[in-house]
């Protein structure tokens, strides 16, 4: 479990970083907290000639209110996000998902940008970004751009980022009044990747009718998913007329290619996914109703 040889680079700013990526091409890999990459290197499941470390790159850390959104620098650690009162107040779903990520030692090093760019389908942050319609800010030698989370996750561990493109920050919309949020996941042990997880954001109008809702699913496909058909069917309905179990079963009815391994078959994950959606739905609707 020793990695194959690589050259280590420690750029100081984002422009230098993407310049290195452009120059080194596909043999280079960015390393942020390293919580996924280092084990993959040690097991030689991944081999790169160059590692470009983001630890010393300026301007990638921080949490700031920017208008109706909260900007979080890509190199901000999960632990910093978990501690942030601003995140807890303005983006509660992100705050609530954070303690579910691994263990605190992992969260002390793991970053939001690393998690989103690594795009593990069972990870919390990619699913939360998708659920909240976050916007992803990037930089490449061709300039900066902003991508919607929808469509960003293109396959297992793959995203819409170009080879020489760096994720610099993520903006999350500030919560609306009369809204509620919940995340539920099921893992074999505390801190393990979820076998099935669900994030729910729901916004009500004055008459306890569902103005809009988002249901994010993780661990249930090759990428984090939104239960789009279930969301559409729920919009405009009164919360009293919706049973959480129905939301759960509708949300998982859309699923194709649910993963299976030693810890759970596809059928089981789908079943637990429905339970997680139902539980998250109940809590989110209650919070929105109480707001």
């Amino acid at each position: 479990m020793k990695p194959a040889p690589f050259t280590y680079h420690a750029p100081r700013d984002a422009a230098e970083t993407v310049g290195l990526l452009a120059e080194l091409g596909e043999e280079a890999k960015l390393i942020a907290g390293g919580q996924s990459l280092v084990p993959m290197l040690a097991l030689r499941l991944a081999v790169f000639d160059h590692l470009v470390d983001l630890r010393h790159v300026a301007g990638l850390r921080g949490i700031e209110r920017r208008g109706d959104a909260v900007w979080i620098g890509a190199a901000t650690t999960q632990a910093e996000i978990g501690r942030s009162e601003q995140v807890a107040r303005d983006v509660p779903l992100l705050s609530r998902a954070t303690p579910l990520i691994g263990h605190f030692q992992i969260r002390n090093r793991g970053t939001i940008g690393g998690s989103v760019a690594h795009a593990d389908a069972a990870a919390e942050y990619p699913a939360i970004a998708l659920t909240l319609d976050a916007r992803l800010e990037t930089l490449s030698p061709r300039g900066s751009r902003t991508l919607p989370a929808a469509g960003f996750f293109t396959g297992m561990w793959s995203t819409g980022l170009a080879e020489d493109e760096l994720l610099t920050g993520i903006t999350f919309p500030v919560r609306a009044p009369r809204s509620g949020f919940a995340v539920e996941e099921f893992a074999r042990r505390s801190g393990d990747f979820a076998l099935a997880g669900a994030a729910v954001a729901v916004e009500l109008d004055g008459d306890a009718q569902i103005r809009r809702c988002a249901i994010g699913l993780f661990g249930l496909g090759p990428v984090p998913l939104r239960a789009v058909a279930a969301e559409a069917a729920l919009a405009g309905r009164g919360t009293d007329s919706v049973s959480a179990e129905e939301v759960g079963s509708t949300a998982v009815a859309e699923l194709r290619s649910v993963p299976a391994d030693l810890h759970g078959s596809a059928d089981y994950r789908r079943h637990v996914g429905a339970v997680m959606v139902a539980r998250a739905w109940r809590r989110a609707v209650k919070e929105a109703g109480d707001a």
């Binding site: 099921f186 042990r189 076998l195 759970g264 089981y268 079943h271």
Partner: protein, 781 residues
């Protein structure tokens, strides 16, 4: 014993803080990878990616061309170096199963070592290992041991039907009671493969000096003296020129009792390389190649009369021994069958037991290797109780042996003594308040919550007296300052042997514990000893310390008597001095007596030898010392997800008087957590092609602090037949926990009428059982 000889034990029986803790808890332990010898070379194995294949050519040219690579060895290079390969613990003439060093001709499991790369560091060695090209011709593997006897393929050509060993009592057909009894329960119970998984993986440094003919070995081992004897025989060098050193071993649990193939290869290769050779197993290798345990099943039955009195037991047991079991599996196979009746009053019955080869990693010893006797029996008892409409506690109460019934010989001829199964059972139930729990369970069910309670009661053999384990020695040196060093063979792998030896020695010599130090694990300076294994260290080292200390006590008393001009019988050795009994003010400090013994030998009384150093050897007083315990677990099951939350975990145990209750409880906790892991989480699984699918801690799930409740302890103290009455306690935790957990989950799910007969109890299996039960219910209308 201490009471008789030292006027009251000061330390035995108390929670003396562990002397190991300051170094271990501050990261100052010395594990084998901490050993740094000048010029060390590093080894990495090239391992088979296939479950079964014949080996064609091995091309190492590219690997050898890599800078920093010293050698690539194959079977052809290393295997002929073997002089004799057998374990002292097992004996030379006992039939053994095949165990090549590097794979020869055929690989037999994924991970089978095929070649050994030696390089300047482990990084280069791993780079080079990837460059070794082995030409494999795939063969159909025998993956499933349960069907292996009917397979057309053989794991080893010399073992027809893939049978490694077989033993049987009378055929079960000879016992009409199973047909005639009012009630007979019969199920096939299955347990998955799981493993010891020590936090420190295996590792060895072997340093051969051709000039002096000396071999020095640092190893992660439970038995340095076994390793020394083994190495001397293996390489054909003199035993007294081999030195094995271990300071800290980070967990063994049976896996490090005997040198395994990789360690053998390092010993062989060390003669052929220009520097010390180090191999540190990584986690993937440990999960791939350090062995499995627990993979087994049995067709088990128990006959009862109408009142629930047990009439007979029978078990037909089959064990997966993998490709290369260590040691040969006959012994544990037999013990599972023989101990199946457990601590219950069972007048008749029989057993059959079979070990079967498969193309998976070999079986190794693991904490309570015969544990399945308890799993099968206790799970079956709960199933029987539910089917008979009895409370499982009441069923056990009716059949557990009472204190006054011992010694008792079970129907397979195994004599138990000095145990208290019913006492521990009642104590555990009382600690829980069993009736209150049943009431709470009933209330919870009305709210749609499912709570359960399960127990396991067992007797276990500890402190065997066979061969390597028959004796244990100690050397005690009272230094000229009066400070004490005690030398024992050691082999502690986390079981606090330094603490208990220091406690016992301080008591035996009547000195302050701070004045006692112990040296263990270095074969050059410690007396020969069997190491840790078979829950033997408590009793055997207590015996060794006492035998040796009594020599010195006598000598001290003689010197003091001479100086004080009193009779030896009037001298008392206590409080760091020797004094006239009842007159501590007459005391001569130990330092002064030591000074006389070493520096003024001319003043010694006639016949008293100079110096205050002695060696003694204790011989086990009985073939085995029995211990017993009851584990009790409560849980809540989320029937929607299948999640199991353990609520309370209670262990009532009788290991006799305790040398150190904290150490005893630490042993129980460690074993119980491993058992909880086996019941719910750990699975060393293979796919149908024989590929292992849990070779990292992502997939091999060890229970962590969040999965395990605080473990509660109850103690019953019945002296055993050895020094101090101490019994073994190292293994029991891992025996009792799995059935208690399984039974608790099954009890929680009782309203659904489900039966759990397969481990591990995963969330998915629970959801499937509940779902099937609901389907049955609907079908029944």
């Amino acid at each position: 014993m201490n009471d008789e000889t030292t006027n009251g034990a000061r330390y035995a029986g108390t929670r003396v803080p562990r002397v190991e803790d300051p170094r271990l808890l501050t990261g100052h332990g010395t594990y084998v990878d901490d050993v740094a010898r000048p010029g060390t070379l590093h080894a990495c194995f090239v391992r088979s990616p296939l479950a079964r294949a014949s080996i064609g050519s091995v091309d190492a040219s590219e690997a050898l061309a890599l800078e920093g690579v010293h050698a690539v060895f194959t079977a052809e290079d290393l295997n002929p170096g073997v002089h004799e390969q057998w374990y002292t613990l097992i004996g030379r003439d006992v039939p053994d199963t095949p165990r090549p060093q590097l794979a020869e001709g055929e690989v037999r499991f994924v991970g089978d070592p095929v070649a050994l790369v030696v390089a300047d560091d482990r990084y280069i060695a791993e780079d080079a290992a990837e460059l070794v090209v082995v030409d494999y011709e795939p063969l159909p593997p025998v993956v499933d041991y349960a069907t292996a006897r009917d397979s057309g393929e053989l794991v080893h050509a010399d073992y027809p039907r893939n049978i490694a060993c077989e033993l049987a009592g009378l055929p079960v057909e000879d016992f009409p009671v199973f047909e005639e009894a009012a009630f007979t329960v019969r199920e096939t119970i299955r347990q998955q493969a799981y493993a010891a998984v020590p936090i420190e993986t295996r590792g060895i440094v072997a340093e051969w000096s051709a000039v002096t003919g000396e071999m020095a070995i640092w190893a992660s081992t439970q038995s340095p003296h076994e390793m020394r004897l083994f190495c001397a025989r293996l390489l054909g060098i003199d035993e007294h020129r081999v030195r094995v050193v271990m300071r800290d071993t980070g967990g063994g649990f049976g896996q490090k009792v005997l040198p395994m193939r990789e360690e053998i290869c390092i010993m062989l290769a060390s003669l052929k390389v220009p520097g010390p050779l180090k191999w540190i197993e990584d986690r993937r290798e440990n999960l791939l190649s350090a062995g499995q345990a627990r993979h087994e099943h049995a067709d088990a039955r128990i006959a009862f009369d109408a009142d629930g009195t047990m009439l007979a037991t029978a078990i037909d047991y089959v064990q997966d021994v993998g490709a290369y079991p260590i040691p040969a599996p006959m012994n544990t196979c037999a013990v599972v069958g023989i101990l199946f009746p457990g601590p219950y009053r069972v007048p008749q019955g029989t057993f059959a037991t079979t070990g079967v080869f498969s193309n998976t990693v070999g079986r190794t010893a693991y904490r309570g290797p015969w544990q399945f006797e308890s799993v099968a029996r206790e799970v079956l008892l709960d199933i029987a109780a539910r089917e008979m409409g009895m409370d499982p506690a009441e069923l056990r109460r009716r059949n557990l042996l009472r204190r006054d019934e011992f010694p008792y010989t079970n129907h397979n001829g195994m004599p138990y003594s000095d145990v208290t199964p019913l006492d521990t059972f009642e104590q555990a139930l009382e600690m829980l308040d069993y009736e209150a729990f049943r009431a709470e369970q009933a209330r919870a069910r009305t709210e749609g919550r499912f709570l359960g309670v399960g127990t396991c009661t067992y007797v276990e053999p500890t402190t065997d007296s066979l061969s390597l384990h028959a004796t244990e020695g100690a050397t005690i040196r009272i230094e000229p300052s009066g400070k004490v060093n005690v030398y024992v063979g050691g082999g502690s792998s986390g079981n606090s042997l330094e603490t208990t030896v220091v406690q016992l020695t301080a008591d035996a010599l009547g000195v302050d514990i701070a004045d006692v130090n112990t040296v263990q694990g270095d074969t050059a300076v410690t007396p020969f000893g069997g190491g840790t294994g078979g829950s033997r260290s408590g009793s055997m080292t207590a015996g060794a310390v006492e035998v040796t200390a009594s020599i010195l006590r006598e000598r001290i008393a003689e010197i003091a008597a001479h100086r004080l001009e009193v009779s030896v019988d009037d001298v008392e050795v206590a409080g760091g001095q020797a004094a006239v009994r009842g007159k501590p003010e007459t005391g001569i400090p130990l330092a002064e007596i030591a000074s006389i013994a070493y520096f003024q030998p001319e003043t010694l009384p006639p016949g008293v030898p100079p110096g205050l150093e002695a060696s003694g050897r204790y011989r086990a007083q009985s073939p085995v010392i029995w211990a017993n315990a009851t584990h009790l677990c409560t849980c809540e099951v989320d029937v929607e997800t299948g999640a199991v939350k353990l609520l309370r975990f209670i262990v009532s145990e009788d290991c006799g008087p305790m040398i150190n209750p904290s150490v005893v409880e630490g042993q129980i906790a460690g074993g119980a957590v491993q058992g909880i892991g086996g019941a719910l989480y750990e699975h060393l699984a293979y796919d149908e092609d024989g590929n292992p699918v849990s070779t990292t801690f992502m997939d091999y799930l060890l229970p962590t602090a969040t999965e395990v409740p605080v473990i509660e302890y109850g103690h019953v103290e019945t002296p055993g037949p050895g020094p101090g009455g101490y019994k073994g306690v190292g293994e029991g935790g891992a025996i009792g926990a799995p059935p208690a957990v399984v039974n608790a989950v099954a009890d929680a799910l009782a309203p659904f009428g489900v039966k759990i007969t397969r481990l591990p109890v995963t969330p998915e299996s629970i959801v499937a059982l509940v779902r099937a039960a609901r389907v049955r219910e609907e079908a029944a209308g």
